[in-house]
């Protein structure tokens, strides 16, 4: 108890004594604001559960969700199979659990591609300015103006269906808002004194961009990424549903809905359950994103 109290004191001390203490304090204070927002906490718990389920999949499931049991086709949800079985006798619960890994894989892959590109284009554009800015921002606007799903479909038509190609197509149409955010952030700080101090000390432009400008963009980028995540998941599921994303027998949720479509009238659970999974996860990201925005950017307020 005593140590907990002192930890709290350390986290709330008026004058931080070290860089790491200041950093911990900032996170802690944001957390204090965050945890009073019930909606955001629900969102966070959904996402944490998703990660936990994906990590623990081998221990939660009885099968790998790929084996066929043709004698157990289309069994209704019950104690034996919680979510029933599909047209090939595979346990839907197990497939949903394994599918959570694919959802996280999509989310991670898109983030890894989109954030660095957006940050690079945005910070360079905002910090350097001039004609570089004009050219890069025109380019960003062009991508911002594109219809996402249609372009992804055209790209998949050329590259061939598959999860990775779907992710690439989504990333191509997702990076531009991040460039806009990073540019706005870079513009506001490029004339500030600490940047000037770094310039005087002879820090290279690349160094300033990476070590000073980028960290200040991160909070807005994370909020935006969380808010965009639902859209990314829905687009990936849509491509999977059309047969352009993950291919069978991969237990991707959108593809599962597509396979279950023929059983809609008589075995409603086959296409319904994966849809609920998608709904819950994208709801989780939307709630979390709303909450994060309230914490980091109270002005946009709700």
């Amino acid at each position: 108890m005593a140590s907990e109290l002192s930890l709290r004191d350390w986290l709330l001390a008026e004058i931080p004594l070290s860089k790491s203490q200041a950093r911990c304090q900032r996170i802690f204070i944001s957390w204090l604001a965050f945890k009073h927002n019930p909606v955001a906490v629900i969102g966070l718990s959904i996402i944490v559960s998703l990660v936990a389920i994906a990590a623990l999949a081998p221990w939660i499931t009885a099968s790998d969700g790929l084996e066929l049991h043709l004698s157990e086709r289309l069994i209704a949800p019950g104690s034996e199979h919680w979510f029933g079985t599909d047209g090939l006798g595979r346990d839907i619960f197990d497939r949903i659990i394994w599918g959570s890994r694919i959802t996280l894989y999509i989310v991670a892959l898109v983030s890894i591609i989109v954030v660095p590109i957006g940050l690079l284009v945005g910070t360079v554009s905002g910090y350097i300015g001039g004609w570089v800015d004009t050219v890069l921002m025109r380019l960003t606007d062009i991508f911002l103006a594109f219809p996402r799903l249609i372009l992804a479909m055209a790209l998949v038509a050329a590259l061939g269906p598959g999860l990775e190609n779907a992710v690439l197509a989504i990333a191509l149409t997702t990076w531009s808002p991040f460039a806009r955010i990073a540019r706005a952030e870079a513009l506001t700080i490029r004339n500030s004194e600490f940047i000037l101090a770094a310039q005087v000390q002879g820090v290279s432009t690349a160094g300033i961009l990476v070590r000073h400008v980028t960290p200040l963009c991160m909070s807005s980028v994370i909020v935006r990424l969380t808010l965009d995540m639902a859209g990314i998941i829905l687009t990936a599921a849509g491509l999977g549903f059309l047969g352009l994303g993950a291919q069978p027998p991969t237990p991707e949720w959108g593809a599962m809905i597509s396979l279950g479509r023929q059983y809609l009238i008589d075995q409603w659970w086959v296409p319904t359950v994966p849809g609920i999974a998608i709904l819950v996860v994208s709801l989780g990201f939307n709630l979390l994103g709303d909450g994060l925005r309230d914490v980091f950017d109270p002005k946009s307020g709700h």
Partner: protein, 354 residues
């Protein structure tokens, strides 16, 4: 959409008003041109550069050598890439999108046949979003923090988060298969097919023009479910933005002044705050309409709605590259065009931007 650049701020003198207006129009046109060049460049890369054999992607693997050679020359594949691109742009400007393998017709003609169905669906969906979403948003803002607000927020969140194709399937299951309230997939029942001459291509208008009310009702019964499903996104987005704009207006001082003067509350809300919100909503509605034109792809697949989305999807599975790219370009142009139009309309209506 764009942040104001320093040059905008300098030109505020009365003598410079005309010049600045001209500069803005030129700027808008230039950015439009750039976007179109970008869009065509991307479709060009997807169609002509990415495939190992672009000719094969266009004619299919069952074409004869003569057809192959003809298309090879037509695309100018013996010439450098930039010449090929100019040739491509030239053909586009003449409305030539190539021939579809699947239908053996010019892609432009195909699109002219399929597009009205999408237009009909997206228009009705957007109207639903406007006429249900705006009152919902105003209601939520007026009752901020109380139960109407919470309920509307939850509906909006679900509209945002649900996969539209799944929602469509559930709706078909409940309202068509179980309750039998509406007609099923497609635009018309089979026995009504081909009775009405397609004039506008929008079935309800065509049927109404020749007084075929039975067909009109059948078309409406087919349309209502997909339009509502497609409209949920519009509804969620429009009600959310209305709420947030409305809250912004209601916290302004002129609202306080009006209330202090003793103006009735309904007049404060609808006569003062809402009038300012309406101007801001123009851009939002344009954005929604454009994204629904695009987003109808999934809804069309679920409801077997013979629109441009289904045309693109079917072409994709038949490796019909010309058709896929033609569809992409047309939808892309509409998307960009509608966004630009709503931007211009906004500038026209809002005196602060003008």
């Amino acid at each position: 959409m764009d942040q104001s650049t320093p040059s905008d701020q300098q030109m505020t003198g009365p003598g410079l008003a005309l010049t600045s207006k001209l500069v803005k129009i030129v700027g808008v046109l230039a950015s439009l041109l750039l976007t179109f060049i970008g869009l065509t460049a991307i479709t060009f890369v997807i169609g002509r550069v990415m495939p190992a054999d672009p000719v094969l992607a266009i004619v299919g693997d069952r074409a004869s050598q003569e057809v192959y050679d003809q298309v090879f020359l037509q695309l100018g594949l013996d010439k450098p890439v930039y010449i090929q691109y100019f040739k491509y742009i030239g053909q586009l400007l003449q409305g030539d999108l190539g021939i579809s393998i699947m239908t053996a017709q010019p892609v432009a003609d195909d699109i002219r046949r399929f597009f009205p169905a999408t237009l009909e669906l997206a228009t009705i969906a957007t109207l639903l979003g406007i006429f249900v979403g705006i009152p919902m948003g105003v209601l939520a803002a007026v009752h901020k923090g109380r139960w109407p607000d919470h309920i509307i927020r939850v509906i909006g969140l679900i509209g945002y988060s649900a996969p539209i194709f799944w929602l469509g399937m559930i709706a078909l299951l409940v309202f068509y298969a179980k309750l039998d309230w509406v007609a099923g997939p497609g635009r018309l029942d089979v026995y009504y097919d081909g009775i009405v001459e397609p004039v506008t291509g929008v079935l309800m208008i065509d049927a109404a023009m020749v007084g075929e009310w039975e067909i009109f009702h059948n078309a409406l019964s087919h349309l209502i479910l997909p339009a509502s499903i497609l409209g949920t996104f519009a509804l969620a987005y429009i009600s959310r933005m209305t709420r947030s704009f409305m809250l912004d207006q209601l916290s302004q001082e002129y609202i306080l002044t009006a209330r202090v003067k003793g103006m009735p509350e309904w007049k404060v809300i609808w006569g003062h705050a809402f009038r300012n919100v309406l101007v801001q909503l123009i851009t939002i509605i344009g954005l929604t309409y454009a994204s629904l034109l695009e987003g109808s792809v999934l809804t069309e697949t679920v409801f077997s709605w013979p629109g441009i989305g289904m045309y693109i999807t079917n072409s994709l599975f038949n490796n019909d590259m010309n058709a896929v790219l033609g569809g992409t370009i047309v939808v892309g142009f509409c998307f960009v065009g509608i966004n630009l139009l709503s931007d211009l309309l906004y500038r026209l209506v809002d005196p602060r931007v003008r």
